[in-house]
Amino acid sequence: MILKDIIERLNLKCLNEANLDAEIKGAYSSDLLSDVMGNARSGQVWITMQTHKNVTAIASLKDIPAVIIVRNGEPDADMLEHAKEEDICILVSTEPTFQVCGKLYELIK
């Protein structure tokens, strides 16, 4: 499924549009940055409640096309700025991690 369709199906708010046509085959959910650094794979969507600039630094290094922030988290201004520079899609869900993961899993499993 492409990112655009995931955004629609999960009813996500998009704060930085990028990679909308990217084919998404998987996701990784973690709030521990070194866990993501070590275990997430390129092309996956990252689901997290972290909202600072190290998130986009890691997403960019790992070729992660989109980050879903859970529970209405608000990205820091410099994170959003960095996302624009690095072309990373920043999405926000009103729901907590469990619900976001469950719904996304159903869509792309």
Partner: protein, 138 residues
């Protein structure tokens, strides 16, 4: 080719800029993606450790056709027990650092996994130097 970067004391916001710059260079040099992935994981973790656990420092990167050698040298407290520090899950990260999502105790194990050679020189009260080598086109 040789590149140097400064790691600023306490500056989490810009941590990762050396890794990003090295990634761009390696892409331009057409280094294979699998090696680039390993290199950036190792360098980023070392960069963050120099900010999270020490008072900043310096990065030196030497790229030649066979290998990349990354030396991350910090001024800091040093590591009292390197074997313990290498253990997955071991961390002395401060509450502030943990709140940001660091402190899983996975950085050094990530570095070990993603490099071909890792040397840690550390002196209590002086600092820590990591020398990380990844062989290219291997």
């Amino acid at each position: 080719m040789h590149y140097s970067f400064d790691i600023e004391r306490g500056n989490f916001t810009d941590a990762g800029h050396a890794s990003a710059s090295v990634k761009r260079t390696l892409k331009q040099l057409n280094v294979e993606p699998a090696s680039i992935k390993r290199i950036v994981v190792a360098l980023y973790e070392a960069e963050i450790n120099a900010v999270a656990h020490a008072y900043g420092g310096k990065i030196d990167v030497e790229i030649d056709p066979e290998k990349i050698v990354m030396i991350v040298a910090d001024e800091g407290p040093g590591i009292p027990n390197v074997d313990l520090a290498m253990t997955e899950g071991w961390s002395t990260a401060s509450p502030k650092v943990r709140e940001m999502g660091f402190g899983a105790g996975m950085g050094l194990p990530n570095i070990k996994k993603n490099t071909d050679e890792l040397k840690i020189d550390t002196k209590i009260g002086v600092g820590t130097t990591l020398t990380m080598t990844v062989y290219l086109n291997a």
